[in-house]
Symmetry: C2
Subunit: 457 residues, 2 copies
């Protein structure tokens, strides 16, 4: 048994005072977001009708490297931050690897995932601007749960549109949101025109994230003093998540190491951005040129490994502006893997530019490999990981085994974005042998990408 430090803990006063805005330091800035009609680059003012003003400005800020974190937000972070950095000694032992494996444990937040880092910030900015009601959508429910708690903490009323199939299959996440006091509606619903239209065409429609976004935006626009909030993809969400990496940087220094590789799972990019961007600035400034950044995406939703860099819509229905991103096409239908948080067709604009510029890499992981990794991690480190986070674990294990083969000792850091205690149905199915891998023919991907082509002409 090791009698060594396992958890590197920072005191409360080491919660970062500023978020890191990588956009300001990037050599090649992300391409502009375009109005789909005029194809003119959007200004913050164009976003005000939907988002609060502070987040609208953050979204397009390409000049300030550091954005102060309001004292009220830091004060709420104190409930669970700084989160621990953990050296995964037992996992290393099980893999018999010379690699040093660390993970940042975001699962200790009260709602069980990193999502709270941005939920608190967005709720605060809404409150500051006199907004009383907010709307959002949620797929598997991690973002909805975080936003429900944050809204309650700042005295805002929240309406969540939850994808109907999740609403029925994940009753625990729905209950969590309701316990925090949010109003949760299965989407599509009869409460919006978008929902009505879809239900009229298909009364049995089980919903999609695209439809839920449309409903949430529509309700926000129809309600006085109401704005819409989103939990991933956008640059201001990534910004808020950088507290993860900023803390991890200090904690790695406590451990006397610097990561050779930083790994996170990838859905819309919020947890990946959060842990990597602060380390990325040292790759940009040349002080740590060799660090590798690896995004782990599902093999069944391979936008970064098999998608194309194009202008595309952020939602299925095409209601958003045009975003420059790696995409599988906004109509792409990901297989029903048990990692709902990663079933999204595109990557955020910053990450897409970084991938294009080879500042980072992406790997795709089949479903069974993620659950095998998750089970090993649970049995060695004692934490049952979220199926989403398990993609990062699987990628980490691949790298650690490579170290063993090559006899090299590398320092690997991954982000444990959340725990899987509410995802036990998926573990049950895995242990019973009821899960499968999905393979996607090239033709399928080509078909959906063809639908994006006209947007780029």
């Amino acid at each position: 048994m090791n009698i060594k430090t396992k958890r590197f803990l920072l005191p409360e006063n080491e919660i970062p005072e500023q978020w890191y805005n990588v956009q300001a330091d990037m050599v090649n800035k992300p391409l502009p977001i375009l109005h789909p009609g005029t194809r003119k680059p959007l200004t913050p003012e164009d976003l005000y009708p939907i988002f609060n003003e502070a987040c609208s400005q953050q979204e397009l800020n390409q000049t300030d490297s550091w954005i102060p974190i309001p004292e009220e937000v830091r004060d709420m972070y104190k409930y669970y931050r700084p989160t621990p950095l953990v050296r995964a000694y037992e996992l290393e032992k099980a893999l018999d690897t010379p690699a040093h494996i660390y993970f940042k444990n975001e699962s200790v937040s009260p709602v069980g995932s990193h999502k709270l880092n941005s939920a608190i910030a967005q709720a605060y900015f809404c409150k500051q601007e006199g907004i009383t009601n907010i709307t959002t959508e949620t797929g598997a429910g991690q973002w909805g749960a975080a936003m429900s708690y944050a809204a309650k903490a700042f005295g805002l009323e929240l309406a969540v549109y939850m994808v109907k199939v999740s609403y029925q299959q994940k009753p625990y996440r729905r209950s969590i949101m309701q316990t925090f006091g949010a109003q949760v509606t299965a989407s599509p619903s009869m409460s919006t025109r978008a929902g009505k239209d879809i239900l009229t065409a298909d009364p049995n429609c089980s919903g999609s994230l695209g439809c839920a976004i449309s409903e949430a935006i529509e309700l926000a626009q129809a309600t006085p003093h109401c704005k819409y909030v989103l939990g991933s993809v956008l640059s201001h969400v990534s910004l808020h998540q950088t507290v993860i990496g900023l803390e991890a940087e200090k904690q790695m220094a406590m451990a006397g190491e610097y990561p050779d590789e930083v790994i996170a799972c990838f859905g819309g990019g919020s947890n990946f951005s959060g842990i990597t961007f602060p380390f990325m600035r040292h790759k940009i400034d040349g002080s740590h040129k060799e660090t590798r950044f690896i995004a782990a995406e599902p093999a069944s939703c391979p936008k970064m490994t098999r998608g194309k860099f194009e202008y595309d819509f952020g939602d299925e229905s095409g209601y958003t502006p045009l975003l420059p991103m790696y995409t599988l096409g906004h109509n792409f239908q990901p297989a029903n893997i048990h990692a709902g948080g990663l079933r999204y067709h595109g990557a955020g604009t910053i990450v897409s530019q970084l991938l294009k510029d080879k500042m980072m890499e992406a790997v795709d992981i089949p479903q069974l490999e993620t659950f095998k990794a998750a089970t090993l991690f649970a049995r060695t480190e004692g934490i049952i990981p979220a199926p989403e986070s398990s993609h990062a674990i699987a990628a980490t294990i691949r790298e650690a085994l490579k170290c063993k083969e090559e006899g090299k000792s590398k320092v690997i850091l991954f982000n444990l974005s959340g725990h899987g205690l509410i995802d036990m149905t998926a573990y049950d199915m895995y242990l019973a042998g009821d899960l499968i891998n999905y393979s996607i023919p090239d033709e399928t991907i080509e078909k959906y990408l063809k639908e994006v082509e006209p947007l780029n002409k």
Copy 2:
């Protein structure tokens, strides 16, 4: 908003080096545990056939106030200890109370409850003595989950008998145990004589903790190098849990306060003992004579508020030695409240003696009051509490409101023994208005207590 310290955190090296054994300091020692046949006091050697030797000795140790925590156990504690002490500012604000409310947050353990504190210790001692297999029972599954992880960490094979009704109703907890690699069997089962007998008499029997204990003990005795482990009631379990209170004592000092009242929920007594015993020693030594210790039990299982101090069996089937305790009778059938961890007929021997000597108090709380308290706590402090822990929250709220009425500012500390993320079905039912309070007629209690009388003649 308060810009004050919310969480009082201790560094890893402040994990206690010794457990506190209150038995040694008690003015009136607990009465001896008796062999049911000979009625002679048990010796540690009498317990060796069932329990490991170290725990058997701890069980009956009334001389050593401090028991060293093995370095390997402290090393495992490092994965989640010291746990935070939190000032519940938002709850105070919602109650508009002058009381200062603190809680020790044991829900941050990887399995979500305090149970791991003893599971790790018991697994370690078994391993040390060359034991390779262990058995245990679990009701709602908190103990089983903790033991599954601890067993895996020390390379022990674990068989868990899970009360059949919970096995069916709480599939997530069963999955957690299986994910950690434990073998989980619904009890009654055909794998033991005890189980077979019960199933033969009643093929549809949905099980009980008493039956599951019998099955686990029987399997342990029939298996070479195998011992049985238990998660509450016994004095060695309480001993291991004192890390909670020992840390809390240091953390209260960091906050510059000392509790006027220490509150915990009460099932078999493990989390109550854990947080109170270290503070109890200052009541015993006279340095803090006025501190009140309050056990919060369900109104539907009121062993301390309406039971009797008698010799009784620890299990339903009467296979254990005779324990001197406050009891409702070992055949008492608690109502089906959604706090499975508190549905037990008796209190441990130490706590029973302390209650008899008026060193502590007990209150009983109706189910609806616990869920009302839980929901308020979730919406203010952001953590969804386990239904068991919600009894402590409800008792705390009663005391805090009393402070408000009387215009007194007291310092209240309670133990948040676990989170309720896997108990959302109960929250759903509460929010839908489907939960009820249970009242137990005096005659019912008298009836079961009559069955205990012959044991005391």
